[in-house]
């Protein structure tokens, strides 16, 4: 029965010493990252420079923050594809409030609050009204996106505030502030995944909702809060992007419509729930960031980048299935 060694490996759960390397899938992903990095560092002398690497980190932070919360959501067998629109909506609302003469920090809180609120709306749709998460957030993707255009009047709103621009352009000891913010959040999410009781709640909810409910866990609350966190993280990303560009428009969310979910699945989380790790997501986000940067450095078109990304995603999922069959 349990004679073969894989049986005693804990999948996706608090690992033993080499948990990072235990999962062949994640190893494969790490190998892909190394190959991509190696390729670009040969192809472009500038690629491996410190400033470029920090630049990649800075530009990946917004995606990374959303991908962290999306990872937990996917592990719990949920999904939120509306995040791209939430980025736009909260950024635009922030810009509009500012335009009305509201204090900049209060406007920022307003942006975050709207993120949390729309996340709560997603959560209610899915948890209380039992709408399929893909359908629910596909609907809200459209609603929030449309609202962002309506509120902004399709205009680009410019923001000129040195204190606020620190969020997206500031540096602490030479490290971009947004990258630090992402790394801190990564630490928090890693703790929740591996050490916190909430993490077990999330894995149990996604692994077997009914079993978790019948063990007396607060599955509905867990699922609801994950949608709120997802909305909030999209709002944080919206503010980071606004600060980075010193401007906001309803279009800023466009690149994130699909890339957040792509990163999470590439990172090994299963849409069937119960599986996934934030470390996998971190590696996947790094791969996306490196690809984007590398393609730009080599002057390749962003369309070629899309082709590469899609291919990578499908190969990763195929590898996963081959691994499962064995």
């Amino acid at each position: 029965m349990s004679t073969d060694t894989p049986a005693t490996v804990r999948p996706n759960m608090p690992g033993k010493r080499f948990s990072l390397l235990l999962r062949a899938r994640r190893q494969g992903l790490l190998v892909v990252l190394i190959i991509v990095v190696a390729y670009f560092s040969f192809a472009s002398p500038y690629f491996l420079s410190q400033s470029n690497l920090l630049n990649i980190g800075a530009l990946s932070a917004a995606l990374g923050i959303m991908a962290l919360s999306q990872t937990f959501l996917v592990i719990s067998r949920g999904i939120d594809i509306s995040v791209g629109s939430v980025v736009a909506l909260s950024g635009v609302l922030f810009g509009v409030l500012l335009g009305q003469g509201v204090d900049i920090w209060i406007a920022a809180i307003g942006g975050l609050a709207v993120g949390a609120a729309v996340g709560a709306a997603n959560g209610l749709l899915v948890v209380r009204l039992k709408v399929d998460p893909l359908v629910a957030t596909l609907g809200t993707l459209s609603i929030f996106g449309g609202l962002a255009y309506m509120i902004s009047g399709s205009q680009t709103l410019f923001i000129d505030d040195p204190a606020f621009s620190f969020l997206g352009t500031g540096r602490v000891f030479g490290v971009p502030f947004q990258l630090l913010l992402f790394l801190v959040l990564f630490g928090v999410f890693l703790f929740v995944e591996r050490r916190a009781t909430i993490g077990r709640n999330i894995y149990a909810t996604g692994g077997n909702l009914e079993a978790a409910r019948l063990a007396g866990l607060r599955v509905d609350l867990t699922r609801f809060l994950l949608y709120v966190v997802s909305g909030l993280s999209a709002a944080v990303s919206g503010l980071i992007l606004t600060s980075q560009l010193s401007a906001t428009s309803a279009q800023v969310g466009a690149p994130y419509l699909l890339s957040v979910v792509t990163a999470v699945i590439l990172g090994g989380a299963s849409l069937a729930g119960g599986r996934g790790t934030v470390v996998g997501t971190l590696i996947a986000v790094s791969i996306l960031g490196v690809l984007q940067n590398g393609f730009a450095l080599l002057g390749l078109s962003s369309f070629a980048q899309q082709v590469a990304l899609g291919t990578l995603l499908i190969i990763a999922v195929l590898l996963d299935q081959v691994g499962k069959r064995r």
Binding site: R10, R195, R200, A204, N208, A211, G216, L217
Partner: protein, 499 residues
């Protein structure tokens, strides 16, 4: 012997890694004969059947079909030679019709257009072969579980079918439905098909089989010729030694711990029960009797539950669901351990501690060393074969079930409610589960068991409540009378099986 066996396996051996799964097993099935294959999990039954139906190749030994030596390349090859397997798990498409499901893979079509009439005709013939009366155009989702089993069996039939292997066809069925499937199997045999029948339900096997073959440790331990089987000898051949210990129990008169009053559900009305500390009360009933709703209603897991439940005098809010029930000191082991009980990807420790996460938490962090210690001690207390880090999906059904019990023991419950506590586990594991349940009762836990397994109820309960048509039909206080009384109370005369 004048007739050649439809299927004969001679001296089959098969090794997986370090385990000798089969060690020189021989078996023969005559046309029209029903052979029951018994044995605990891991005895080699499934391996033997996989070899007989072309799923696996033997390391050595010979297979003969109608006296002719064959090498089965794969399942399709075996099917062509007239040997088919009916798997344990139903593999039907719910939204397709009965006929389409039966003819799946060889539907009759004319120039690419499905010939519905021809398909239904062909399916109808197969159903008639089973003695089943089913309309071929009915969608499968409208069928009862027994009817679905008919469809699954009919699919395995082809014009030249010699031998059919049935892997626990009645495991998920209640008494009545199982009886229907059993009569279909008889009909198969009377039409000249040899049947190999794997089941954990001994009563069914005694009733059905011409010969019982008991496997243990990869060999044939013993075989018995029917029709009159020595039941004790069969059981002892299976487990090695008879696990007795059904000592006479007397009525328990501890304080009442669980009191449910006038519970109602979807198909349940006016159900009341009291369970005392240390008492094991069983709720018995066939499918549809309301028995299957009782447990869910008491713990508030069913959205239809209504009525009042108290634990040690304290009322439990039914709308609070399992959380409220747990807080009141109740534990619930659901009927479907894989879909309702376990998080299969996770390990034993994760599953054991799932109901007591708050007790293992300090400042948001999960206390893993405490959890491991606790799980290890529960594993040894309940003799669970596995370590805290074993993935739960790799454990046998009996061990998985014990983990579910361990989950509630860890949480320190005063009331344990179990739905079908030994469904789909082998005889040895059943005996161990009964011992576990008795031990817990002896420690003062109030235990309520909902079951459709009469043997089980006779084996462990102090008192039985018999359900029929959503209501309590009888309450039986004396364990000695249980078997006869329960059978009488739970079946309406028109439905009872003439056997």
């Amino acid at each position: 012997m004048s007739i050649a066996p439809a299927l004969e396996a001679i001296n089959i051996a098969k090794r997986y890694g370090g385990i000798q799964a089969l060690d020189g097993v021989s078996l023969r099935v005559l046309p029209g004969q029903i052979i029951a294959l018994l044995g605990e999990n891991g005895a080699g039954k499934s391996t033997l059947m996989k070899i007989a139906t072309g799923l696996e190749r033997p390391d050595s030994g010979e297979l003969k079909v109608d006296g002719e030596s064959v090498h089965l390349a794969n399942v399709v090859d075996a099917h062509r030679r007239g040997i088919s397997l009916v798997p344990q798990e139903l593999t039907l498409c719910d939204d397709m019709s009965v006929a389409e499901n039966i003819e799946l893979g060889n539907m009759v079509s004319r120039r690419g257009v499905l010939d519905r009439l021809a398909t239904e005709k062909s399916a109808g013939k197969k159903l008639a072969f089973l003695g089943a009366e089913l309309d071929g155009s009915t969608p499968v989702h409208d069928l009862t579980l027994a009817e679905r089993a008919f469809v699954q069996i009919a699919r395995a039939l082809a014009s030249g079918t010699r031998v059919i292997v049935l892997d626990e066809p009645t495991a998920a069925l209640s008494g009545d439905e199982a009886a229907q499937v059993v009569s279909a199997v008889k009909s198969l045999a009377s039409n000249g098909v040899g049947v190999i029948y794997i089941s954990h339900r001994l009563e069914e096997v005694y009733h059905l089989a011409d010969e019982i073959v008991v496997m243990r440790d990869g060999r044939v331990a013993r075989s018995f010729q029917g029709p009159d089987f020595d039941k004790r000898a069969v059981v002892s051949a299976m487990v090695g030694a008879l696990s007795s210990g059904d000592s006479e129990r007397s009525l328990v008169d501890g304080p009442v711990v669980l009191r449910a009053t006038r519970l109602a559900g979807r198909n349940l009305a006016d159900f009341s029960v009291e369970v005392r500390a240390g008492e094991i009360v069983a709720v018995y009933g066939v499918l549809g009797s309301g028995r299957e709703e009782v447990a869910g209603c008491i713990v508030g897991a069913s959205e239809f539950s209504n009525g009042s439940v108290t634990v040690e005098g304290q009322p439990v809010r039914l709308s609070g669901g399992m959380r409220a029930a747990k807080a009141a000191g109740m534990g619930y082991v659901p009927a479907e351990r894989r879909s309702q009980g376990l998080v299969l990807d996770q390990n034993v420790e994760f599953n054991t501690t799932l109901a007591m996460l708050p007790q293992l938490t300090t400042l948001l962090a999960f206390n893993r060393s405490k959890a491991t210690t606790l799980t290890t001690s529960l594993c040894s207390e309940l003799s669970i074969k596995g370590t805290p880090t074993s993935v739960i999906g790799t454990l046998s059904g009996g061990n998985q079930q014990k983990v579910l019990v361990a989950r509630w023991l860890a949480a320190g419950v005063r009331v344990l409610i179990m739905d079908e506590p030994t469904r789909g586990v082998d005889v040895g594991a059943k005996a161990e589960m009964y011992k576990t349940i008795r031990d817990q009762a002896a420690k003062g836990t109030a235990i309520l068991i909902c079951s459709s397994d009469l043997e089980e109820i006779c084996a462990i309960s102090d008192r039985v409540i018999v359900m029929r048509d959503g209501r309590v039909a009888a309450e039986i206080l004396h364990p000695q009378e249980i078997e006869v009384a329960v059978a009488a109370a739970s079946h309406r005369p028109t439905l009872s099986e003439p056997s």
